[in-house]
């Protein structure tokens, strides 16, 4: 019996893997498709979605998988962006140096923030992560050397070996590779020993302590993984808009990322992706209809809260499986 269960599991994961590959291929085919349709502008827009998907995915790992509601993710996202811009200003334009440096800076920041914040829990954790993000925001905004309120512009996108990232399609593919790589990595981590420990901590923290697990250290590691990936997303977004803007660090950015996670599905591997896609598409579509699209977006989000409490992905899934069952 156990054996057949096991093979069912394998078949399931094989199907999942096949689906993921198909999705990846479709996404990779998007730029030539859009260009053929004469919609070149949307290649850049699609890249933006992928970058926010990466940022939201990294937050979802902390919130959904680590069980820590962090309200300061913009700090790591923005720090990654500033790292790339500051390095570029000093003449370091290689993506192979600047992007890992951005991720490392964000990782170090999240290590410091997490180490202090994890002493608190619940609402206090939400607020202390917010406080740290505010500190980092004001630090960057107040320093004239880093552009103050205007942010720090980039002259050009990072150099990426033979690939010219100035080409929107090339940039899109690199962003896609980053997102796919991150998803693959997080999926592996989630199913390894470390992931099982995190899952168990979310389920019963005190029992884990009583089994000898230094719970805080595991949560911190999770927090740092999320922060590091957010730094990479930040490096990409600075390249995308050719600007490290203080807006990236603002608390409303943390709020937006959190909203993406909740909308997409807390704790679901593709939740961040689904959320970023939903939110940015909605913005784009609504803005086409009315200047007061914020109002429409707000009302729609309220509908999500009350009608799709487990996220859009889960809601659609439920909708379809109910149809199918009929």
């Amino acid at each position: 019996m156990a054996a057949s269960e096991k093979s069912a599991l394998y078949r399931q994961s094989a199907r999942r893997r096949a689906l993921a590959v198909v999705a990846l291929l479709v996404l990779a085919a998007l730029p030539p498709l859009l260009q053929a349709l004469g919609q070149d502008f949307y290649v850049s827009f699609a890249a933006r979605i992928l970058i926010f998907a990466l940022a939201a995915t990294s937050l979802n790992f902390i919130v959904g998988f680590g069980g820590m509601v962090a309200f300061g993710h913009a700090a790591f996202f923005g720090a990654g962006a500033y790292a790339v811009a500051i390095l570029a200003e000093r003449g370091v334009v290689s993506a192979f140096v600047a992007w890992p440096a951005a991720a490392a800076l964000a990782g170090l920041l999240s290590l410091a923030v997490g180490a202090v914040s994890l002493r608190t829990r619940g609402v206090y954790f939400i607020m202390i992560t917010l406080a740290f993000a505010q500190m980092i925001y004001y630090l960057f905004v107040s320093l004239q050397a880093w552009g103050g309120d205007d942010g720090l512009p980039l002259m050009a996108r990072s150099s990426f070996g033979p690939l010219d990232l100035g080409d929107d399609a090339a940039f899109y593919w690199v962003a896609l590779a980053c997102l796919a790589g991150a998803l693959f990595l997080l999926d592996r981590v989630a199913h390894a020993r470390f992931g099982r420990v995190l899952q168990a901590i979310r389920e019963n923290e005190s029992r884990m302590e009583a089994l000898g697990y230094p719970v805080a250290a595991y949560k911190l590691a999770c927090f740092v993984i999320g922060g590091t990936l957010a730094g990479l997303a930040g490096a990409l977004i600075a390249n995308h808009g050719l600007l490290a803007s203080p807006n990236l660090l603002h608390w409303t950015q943390s709020g937006t990322l959190l909203v993406m996670v909740i909308v997409g599905g807390v704790g679901a591997l593709y939740g961040g992706f689904a959320g970023a896609l939903t939110l940015l598409l909605l913005e784009e579509i609504l803005a086409g209809f009315t200047v007061h699209w914020h109002m429409a977006l707000g009302l729609l989000l309220l509908v999500v809260v009350f009608r799709a409490p487990r996220g859009v992905a889960a809601w659609l899934h439920g909708l379809f499986s109910r149809r199918g069952a009929k």
Binding site: V63, V69, F71, V116, R119, T120, R121, G122, V123, Y124, I126, M127, I128, L130, A131, F132, Q134, M135, Y138, L139, V141, S142, L143, Q144, A145, W251, T252, G255, L258, V259, V261, I262, V263, V266, H292, H294, M295, L297, G298, L299, L300, L301, L302, V304, V305, F306, P309
Partner: protein, 304 residues
């Protein structure tokens, strides 16, 4: 020099008292219902706009302020009954999403009603000038803010700590089931508390209107300060909110005034002028992080 410090301390006190008006409602809502309300700052914005509109229509600042308090309390009550009430039983994430959505809606509604441009709200003519106190001149209007803030803070403190209604509220904050078992209609009580908190927001919005710009987005920046206050004080504690407000008001104001000057004593002028404002801006967040580091549930934890 002492005069500067004294004046800035007064400004800090004034700002702190206004923060308390915002924080009081927020901490009660947070404490009783374990509810994160990001839209609290929107009520402050709505209050300021209502005050500006009513003052412009009536030509009287006082009428404007009173209309704002009444109108915003009503808005708050409606909001509680229509939306927020459904969120109490939900987790913090759902509350964040819903109230974040409410911010979007509120900002856009204000923009649709009053346009993109900031609104003018003038202090009463009679209070436009400075007055002499203890040998130095201080703006009369700011003195009024301090007076109003102090009276309201005192009244609120007495109501919450000494009266029966206050006892219910505090009891509700530490143990909801128990309070319900005592026969208190927590649902209605809470709508009232929420409307009351909204009214206080409007009062702060109206009083600060002449000093700060009345514009879309004004709620978001002050919301974070109000959260800092209640987290420092301990969520659900009125006393904590009062201490936290004054602490944040004074530290922030004094820090901005004195830090750049202090740094110049120790550091080269160029570094100091760069670092000063940055350090001053993050001072209260440092304060909050430090307090939470040593007291993870704030200065006056309401529970356990």
């Amino acid at each position: 020099m002492t005069q500067l410090i004294l004046e800035q301390a007064m400004n800090g006190l004034q700002f702190g008292l206004m923060l308390f008006l915002l924080a009081a409602g927020l901490t009660l809502v947070f404490g009783i219902m374990d509810m994160i309300n990001l839209a609290h700052g929107s009520l402050y914005m709505v209050g300021a706009y209502l005050a500006a509109a009513a003052a412009a229509a009536s030509g009287s600042f006082v009428v404007g302020a009173l209309a704002a308090v009444a109108g915003t309390a009503l808005v708050g009550a409606l909001l509680e009954v229509a939306v927020l009430r459904r969120l109490y039983a939900r987790d913090h994430l759902a509350q964040v999403l819903a109230t974040f959505a409410l911010i979007l809606v509120a900002n856009e509604a204000v923009r649709m009603l009053w346009g993109d441009q900031p609104m003018q709200l003038n202090a009463p003519e009679a209070l436009a000038g400075p007055v002499e106190i203890g040998g130095f001149a201080y703006p009369a209007y700011r003195l009024l803010i301090i007076a109003v803030g102090a009276v309201v803070a005192l009244a609120l403190y007495v109501v919450v700590t000494k009266t029966r209604v206050g006892m219910w509220v505090r009891a509700g904050a530490s143990n909801r089931e128990m309070t319900e078992a005592l026969g208190v209609n927590v649902k209605r009580l809470f709508t009232l508390v929420f409307a009351f908190g909204a009214g206080l927001c409007a009062l702060a919005g109206a009083m600060l209107g002449p000093l700060l710009a009345v514009q879309v987005g004004m709620g978001e920046s002050i919301l974070i300060l109000a959260f800092v206050v209640i987290v420092i004080g301990g969520i659900g504690s009125i006393r904590g909110a009062l201490v936290g407000s004054l602490l944040v008001g004074v530290v922030d104001t004094l820090g901005r005034a004195l830090l750049p000057w202090l740094l110049r004593e120790f550091l080269p002028a160029e570094v100091a002028s760069n670092l000063g404002p940055a350090l001053a801006a993050i001072l209260i967040y440092l304060l909050m992080a430090a307090i939470l580091f040593w007291k993870p549930a704030g200065l006056f934890p309401a529970r356990g």
